[in-house]
């Protein structure tokens, strides 16, 4: 049987995630300016409007300890790895790095790049409020995004017009809609694509020029619409948690001793990245961007409704559970992350009420396959009510 048309496109997405530097350098070779970002709260459209392609900085999964001289021991391995790559000059080809103040671990990794990796003149930290569900947050960001825009204009040596911004917003929204459509395939009884494959395409989109990505996604979706689907085998697993760029975990979930299918991922390297839109055709583009970005599914580091302590993210998670119908939930978070496990404390009782079993996998540089395999298989045994 010949490889389906979608297979070739998915392979290309996979290759881009594995060789993201090569891809980025090929863009540079065409004269493209590149900006690295460390947190998805960066308004990429402002960069794109200035003709700069934003690429997310992901981990290299190298076990190293030298960054312990730069940032604290008990910071997550993702932040250590990002810091390490800066110090190793793996990303020297970037014209700029940007991040929003999100969690302290990533902020420190960013500081390492600024102070020790030569990015002092080509970096920007966007002050971003943590309590985002308030009017002052929106007002604050007007100034914040405004300053970022000015910085970007200076770097790109040209003004960013409203038309530029609107074009960028439309390209990015298109990307978001396409990715959403891709994930929606997994709601079908017979999806033509698997969770790990969709996760791969999503991760690739974070390191690609969105226009090129959109073309590929359109072709992919077109191919998939025409291909026969296959009912997902075994139990349906949904992942929720923090950044995870290790596709090996998702592959593992579908290659256990028991059958399981990965049917949704709520993380900033997956659904949270694109599950929103920036309002189009508004007169004030920055305000439109602010409205869009504040309306995202929040990262736990930013999710707090003042006065009630309510979490906005949980409403989304419950909606995903309703729409994608998982049998079990896998919490994924970095060892030493603070915000993610705090959310779990409140999420677990919600899952228990819904009768959905769960397990927690603690991410690190490397994957402990037998431990994670045991936890996942135990979860499946619980779901399928295994007993002697």
């Amino acid at each position: 049987m010949t490889k389906k048309g979608s297979g070739a496109i998915l392979d290309r997405f996979r290759q881009i995630t594995e060789k993201s530097h090569d891809y980025a350098k090929s863009l540079k070779g065409k004269g493209q300016l590149l900006a690295g970002y460390m947190c998805t709260h960066v308004p990429e459209e402002i960069l794109y409007a200035a003709g700069i392609v934003p690429v997310r900085i992901l981990s290299s999964h190298v076990s190293q300890a030298m960054t312990r001289s730069y940032i604290h021991e008990t910071y997550c391995s993702f932040s250590h790895d990002c810091a390490y790559q800066g110090l190793q000059h793996n990303y020297d080809y970037l014209d700029l790095i940007a991040t929003s103040s999100s969690c302290i671990h990533m902020s420190e990794a960013f500081n390492v790049w600024v102070r020790f990796a030569g990015f002092q003149q080509k970096s920007f930290l966007i002050p971003y409020p943590h309590i985002i569900q308030t009017k002052p947050a929106g007002d604050f960001l007007v100034a914040s995004f405004g300053e970022f825009k000015q910085f970007v204009e200076k770097l790109a040596k040209k003004p960013v017009t409203d038309d530029d911004l609107e074009r960028a917003i439309k390209v990015y929204n298109h990307n978001r809609r396409l990715l959403k459509r891709l994930w929606e395939f997994l709601r079908r009884d017979q999806p033509p694509v698997t969770g790990p494959e969709v996760a791969t395409a999503t991760l690739a989109s974070q390191v690609m020029d969105k226009q090129e990505c959109n073309e590929m996604l359109e072709q992919l979706i077109q191919s998939l619409e025409a291909e026969p689907g296959k009912a997902p085998s075994g139990v349906r697993l949904m992942v929720t948690g923090g950044a995870c760029d290790d596709l090996g975990i998702f592959d593992l979930m579908e290659h256990l001793n028991y059958s399981a299918s990965l049917i949704f991922i709520d993380s900033c390297t997956a659904a949270r990245y694109f599950w929103f839109e920036v309002p189009e055709d508004r007169p004030d583009k920055l305000k439109a961007l602010i409205e869009g970005y504040l309306g995202r599914i929040p990262c736990p580091a930013k999710d707090n409704v003042p006065g009630t302590g309510e979490k906005k993210r949980f409403r989304f998670i419950q909606q995903f559970i309703e729409d994608f119908k998982p049998d079990g939930v896998v919490f994924l978070y970095q060892r030493f992350c603070s915000p993610q496990p705090m959310d779990i404390v409140a999420l677990k009782p919600i899952l228990q009420k819904l009768g959905i079993p769960s397990t927690e996998l603690e991410l690190d540089t490397t994957l402990p396959i037998t431990q994670f395999g045991t936890q996942l298989e135990a979860l499946i045994e619980i779901i399928t009510r295994v007993a002697p």
Binding site: R335, A378, E381
Partner: protein, 312 residues
């Protein structure tokens, strides 16, 4: 039933090697058994085997793990060595534990969560709802039904890894038997505080206490308290519903179990005099093996089902 040490403690290696043993219930006759099933628990620190005859424990063993494959074989052979029963005559063998995929002679693998729950209810009865498996490398809190079916579990976070093994190296450092330090630790009510979050810190802080010239019994108590606190935090996060039992190697350490009980304010069901709690997951695996064999015998379409997983 006696625990017969077949390999003994090798004092030359220090207080390191746990006792290896095998035991048998000679009242049973394997030649008359309709169903012979076995479970092998390939753990990080020790490997255990349990052989059932028509659902009754017949022979069992407990050996130190070196590599999973080699140690699983050693465990089952140690159990078999007491009889003239041969490996080939066992109808079904199920492997559990971290190294369960490395047991080539096992027909099936089931997680130590499901096996721990099944074994615990078999031993302590249908009132069990929470099982703490405090093993050499990892700690898990397991919730189960009255039938021994696991319903929830919490695996230790990395900051609580290797507590069981750290007990052994601690025993080595203070030059005591690992089987004694638990009782010694209960001799002191007052002792200095060590980090109860990180075993690496606790170990380092314990070493520095040498300077203070406190009696070694107090140091042992301090370390036990710190580790018991760490384990209790884990269990508390998962929630404890009575009845509560403790299995795994650390279940044999009263310095840990007593303190876990007092910190959690819940008493465990007493260990059974004829049963080593560390063998519980292996027993659970044997129960699964027994049940797979019986279903296979009565169900002609068994082979067509994927993975042999049956609902309860």
């Amino acid at each position: 039933m006696d625990f017969v040490p077949i390999l003994g403690v090798n004092r030359k290696d220090g207080y390191w090697k746990m006792s290896e043993y095998a035991s048998i219930n000679n009242k049973l006759d394997w030649t008359r058994a309709k169903m012979i099933a076995a479970g092998v628990d390939s753990g990080a620190v020790s490997s255990k085997a349990v052989i059932l005859l028509d659902g009754q424990p017949y022979a069992w063993s407990h050996v130190t793990t070196r590599t999973p494959k080699e140690s699983a074989l050693r465990a089952i052979n140690a159990a078999l060595a007491q009889t003239d029963l041969k490996l080939e005559k066992i109808h079904t063998i199920v492997a559990t534990g971290r190294g369960r995929t490395q047991v080539p002679f096992a027909r099936q693998a089931v997680s130590e969560i499901a096996c721990g729950a099944a074994g615990a209810v078999r031993i302590w009865g249908p009132s069990v709802r929470t099982v703490l498996d405090a093993g050499g490398q990892s700690c898990k809190a397991i919730h189960c039904t009255e039938k021994g079916r696991a319903t929830d579990f919490l695996w230790n976070d990395k900051c609580a890894a290797g507590i069981g093994r750290s007990m052994e190296s601690f025993a080595d450092l203070v030059k005591k038997e690992v089987s004694e330090i638990g009782n010694i630790s209960l001799q002191s009510d007052k002792f200095p505080k060590l980090s109860d979050f990180c075993p690496v810190y606790a170990q380092s802080e314990a070493l520095d206490l040498i300077r203070s010239k406190i009696p070694v019994e107090q140091l042992i108590a301090a370390y036990h308290y710190a580790m018991a606190k760490r384990i209790s935090t884990l269990v508390a996060r998962s929630g404890v519903k009575e009845d509560f039992v403790i299995i795994g190697g650390l279940a044999k350490n009263p310095g840990i179990t007593d303190r876990v009980e007092s910190i959690l304010k819940v008493n465990r069901l007493a260990p059974k005099p004829d049963w080593d709690p560390a063998l519980t997951p292996a027993l659970g695996a044997a129960l699964f093996a027994d049940s797979f064999s019986r279903r296979q015998q009565s169900d002609t379409t068994y082979g067509a089902r994927m993975s042999g997983i049956q609902s309860c």
